[in-house]
C-alpha cells in the first residue's frame, strides 16, 4: 500500500495483506472477499448519491446527523499517517487537513476534492455502524481451534477498509459523471 493511497479495486487488495489475520485466510478466498467488500462500498456509494443527488459529502453527513471536525494538524507518528478518523462513540468524523494536503499533492487532486474523498472514506464507516453492519464480519476466520473445534473466530478488519476505498472511489467517479 502506498504512503498516500487512493486505490482502485485491484490496488485495494493490498490492504488485505496488511491484516494480521491474512495468513489464516485460505488463498482461494482472498480475491473473492476483497471483491465482496469493494462491491459493498461501491453499492453503498451509488445508493447515497441516488438518495442525495448533487449534494456534497459534508452536506450529506449533516443530513445524516454525522458531526464533522476539521483539524489543521498533520496526524503522523512513526508507524502511520492518519488522514481521517471516525469515532463511533462521538458520532464524529475528524479530517486532518495537514495530512490531507499531502495526500492531495501525491494524488494530484485539488485539496477540496481530496478532503471530500477522505470524508467519503470515513462516511462509509459511519454507514457500517448505522445501517449496513460491519463489513469486517462478512468473512470470519477461526482464531482459536482445538482439533476441529473452533473456540473463537474473528472478522477481517481490512475488509472494512476495502469497502471504504470502494465507497470513496465510486463516489469520486460518479461525482465526476454528475
Amino acid at each position: 500500500m502506498r504512503a498516500f493511497p487512493f486505490p482502485d479495486r485491484l490496488e485495494s487488495r493490498e490492504e488485505l495483506k496488511r491484516d494480521i489475520l491474512y495468513h489464516r485466510i485460505p488463498e482461494e478466498d482472498r480475491e473473492a472477499i476483497c471483491d465482496m467488500a469493494w462491491e459493498r462500498g461501491r453499492k453503498a456509494a451509488c445508493e447515497i448519491l441516488e438518495q442525495y443527488p448533487g449534494m456534497k459529502l459534508p452536506e450529506i453527513a449533516g443530513k445524516e446527523g454525522l458531526k464533522l471536525k476539521y483539524a489543521e494538524e498533520e496526524k503522523v507518528n512513526a508507524a502511520l499517517r492518519t488522514f481521517g478518523e471516525y469515532s463511533v462513540r462521538e458520532n464524529k468524523m475528524i479530517l486532518y487537513q495537514g495530512s490531507i494536503k499531502k495526500w492531495a499533492q501525491a494524488n494530484e487532486l485539488p485539496f477540496e476534492e481530496a478532503q471530500e474523498l477522505v470524508s467519503a472514506h470515513e462516511f462509509f464507516h459511519f454507514l457500517e455502524c448505522t445501517r449496513l453492519g460491519e463489513t469486517s464480519k462478512l468473512y470470519m476466520v477461526p482464531t482459536l481451534r482445538i482439533g476441529r473445534l473452533t473456540l473463537a473466530s474473528s472478522g477481517i478488519r481490512a475488509l472494512s477498509e476495502i469497502g471504504a476505498h470502494g465507497f470513496a472511489r465510486t463516489y469520486f467517479e460518479k461525482r465526476k459523471e454528475q
Binding site: 504512503a3 489464516r24 512513526a78 502511520l80 492518519t82 478518523e85 469515532s87 463511533v88 482464531t143 471504504a164
Partner: protein, 430 residues
C-alpha cells in the same frame, strides 16, 4: 548533623543538575559519590579511601547485577533475531482478531510475558516496533497504546531476574525474599495496564481511521518460529522465571539457562551461521545493556561513599532524625516522597536513591527487607513513565507525543498505584 545537611545539599544540587539536563546521570552519580566522600571527610587512600575504596571497589560492587543485565540483553537479542518475540506478539494479536480491546489486552499480556526476561531500551524498541503499530492500526488511541504498553513492560520488568538482582545487590537482602513482592508488583502493574486500556476504550470508544503506513516503518521481515520446538522456544520467558522461582538461582545463571534453552529450541541450518548469530547477538545485546551497566558503576560508588563507616558516623544523627521507625511512618514517608523516584531522583534505587536507601538501612530503624520492597515499589513508577527514561522517550516519540506529555497523563494514577503497592508491601514485610 551539619555533614548530613551538606550531604542533602549535594543530593539536591546534583538532582537539580540532572533534572535540568545540565549533567547526565552517568556522570552525576560518580560526581556525587566523590563530593559526598569529600564532605564526609573520607581520606584519599586507605581502607575507605576515595581512590582505593569508593571509586574502584564501588565500580565493581554491583558487578553481578550489571553482568545479569548484559546477559538479559543478550537473551533479548537472540529472542528477537530468532523470531521468537515476533511470533509471541503476532500470535497474541491474531487471537484477538478484529476486536481492538481484546487485541490490546492480548498484546499487553504478551509484552508482560516477554519483559520478564527482556531488558533495556533496545528490547523495548524491538517489541514496541511490533506491538505499537498493531495497536494503532486497530484504532487504539496513540496515548492509550503508549501508556498501556509501557505499563505492560513494567509489569514484566518487576518479575525480571535482572531487576530483582539489582535491588537485592544494592540492599543486600536475600533474592528469594523478594519474590512475593515482585509478584505483587507485577499483578498491580497488570491491573494498572488493564485499567489504562479499559478507561481509554471507554473514553474514546471504537474508532476507524483512514491511515497509511509510513514507508520504511514496517522493519525487517523475520521468519516466525513453528512447530513443537517453536512453541517451546516461545516458552523461554516462562522457563527463565520458573527456574528463578523454583531453584532460587542467581540471575546470571537463570539467563544463561534461558540462552541455552533458546539455542536448543531454535538451532537450525548451518551451525557456523547460527553460532555467528549468537555471537553477534551477544555484542549487540551488550551494547544495548551498556547504558544501564554504566549507571551501575556510579551507583556502586555512591553506595560505597554513603556506607563508609566515616560517612555513616558523620550523617547518622541526620539520618536518624529523618528515617521513619514505624510501618505507618515508613508508608507515609515513601508514599508522599515517591514522585522523587522520577528523573532518577532520591527515591529511585537505580539512581540517587541508592545512596538514600543505603543510608536508611545503615540506621537500622526499620527492617531492611521492608525498606527494600518499599524502594522496589517506587521503582515501578519511573520504569513506566519517567520522562528521562530512554524507553519512555522511545515509545512517546513512536506514537508522536512528547515524553513529558505521556508521563503526565498517568502521573496521578501512578502515584495512587505506587502508594497502594507501598501500603500492601510494607504491611506485609514489617
Amino acid at each position: 548533623m551539619v555533614t548530613g545537611i551538606i550531604v542533602v545539599v549535594i543530593f539536591v544540587a546534583v538532582a537539580a543538575l540532572m533534572i535540568s539536563k545540565k549533567l547526565p546521570t552517568v556522570l552525576a552519580l560518580p560526581l556525587m559519590a566523590v563530593l559526598i566522600a569529600v564532605a564526609a571527610g573520607l581520606p584519599l587512600k586507605g581502607d575507605e579511601g576515595i581512590l582505593t575504596y569508593v571509586i574502584p571497589q564501588g565500580a565493581l560492587k554491583l558487578a553481578s547485577t550489571y553482568v545479569a543485565i548484559l546477559f538479559s540483553c543478550w537473551l533479548s537479542r537472540i529472542l528477537y533475531r530468532t523470531g521468537v518475540s515476533a511470533t509471541i506478539i503476532k500470535k497474541a494479536a491474531e487471537l484477538g482478531g478484529d476486536k481492538p480491546l481484546v487485541v490490546s489486552l492480548l498484546l499487553c499480556a504478551a509484552s508482560v510475558f516477554l519483559f520478564t526476561v527482556l531488558y533495556g531500551t533496545g528490547a523495548v524498541a524491538m517489541v514496541g516496533a511490533i506491538v505499537l503499530p498493531i495497536m494503532l492500526s486497530v484504532g487504539v488511541p496513540p496515548m492509550v497504546a503508549c501508556n498501556s504498553f509501557l505499563a505492560a513492560m513494567t509489569a514484566g520488568y518487576m518479575l525480571n531476574p535482572a531487576n530483582i538482582a539489582a535491588v537485592t545487590n544494592i540492599t543486600g537482602v536475600e533474592q528469594g525474599s523478594m519474590y512475593t513482592a515482585a509478584i505483587i508488583l507485577t499483578v498491580l502493574s497488570c491491573i494498572f495496564c488493564v485499567g489504562i486500556l479499559v478507561w481509554g476504550f471507554k473514553k474514546e470508544g471504537k474508532k476507524y481511521a483512514f491511515a497509511a503506513e509510513i514507508p520504511g516503518s514496517d522493519g525487517e521481515e523475520i521468519e516466525p518460529v513453528k512447530g513443537i520446538r517453536g512453541f517451546l522456544a516461545c516458552m523461554t520467558p516462562f522457563v527463565v522465571v520458573l527456574v528463578m522461582l523454583i531453584f532460587n538461582l542467581d540471575a546470571i545463571t537463570v539467563f544463561l539457562i534461558g540462552i541455552i534453552w533458546l539455542m536448543i529450541m531454535t538451532v537450525k541450518g548451518s551451525w557456523s551461521k547460527y553460532c555467528s548469530m549468537i555471537v553477534q547477538s551477544c555484542y549487540e545485546g551488550f551494547k544495548e545493556g551498556a547504558p544501564t551497566a554504566s549507571l551501575m558503576f556510579g551507583i556502586g560508588m555512591l553506595i560505597n561513599a554513603m556506607t563508609a563507616p566515616t560517612t555513616q558516623a558523620a550523617i547518622e544523627p541526620f539520618m536518624q532524625a529523618i528515617t521513619p521507625t514505624t510501618a505507618i511512618g515508613l508508608i507515609l514517608f515513601v508514599c508522599i516522597l515517591s514522585p522523587g523516584s522520577l528523573y532518577r531522583g532520591p527515591f529511585n534505587i537505580l539512581g540517587l536513591g541508592a545512596g538514600l536507601a543505603a543510608s536508611m538501612m545503615a540506621v537500622d530503624a526499620v527492617p531492611i527487607l521492608a525498606l527494600s520492597v518499599a524502594f522496589y515499589a517506587t521503582l515501578r513508577w519511573p520504569t513506566q513513565s519517567c520522562p528521562t527514561s530512554t524507553q519512555v522517550v522511545w515509545c512517546a516519540n513512536f506514537v508522536g507525543y512528547e515524553p513529558t506529555t505521556v508521563a503526565m497523563k498517568v502521573f496521578w494514577p501512578n502515584w495512587i498505584v505506587t502508594a497502594l503497592s507501598v501500603v500492601i508491601l510494607v504491611l506485609m514485610y514489617m
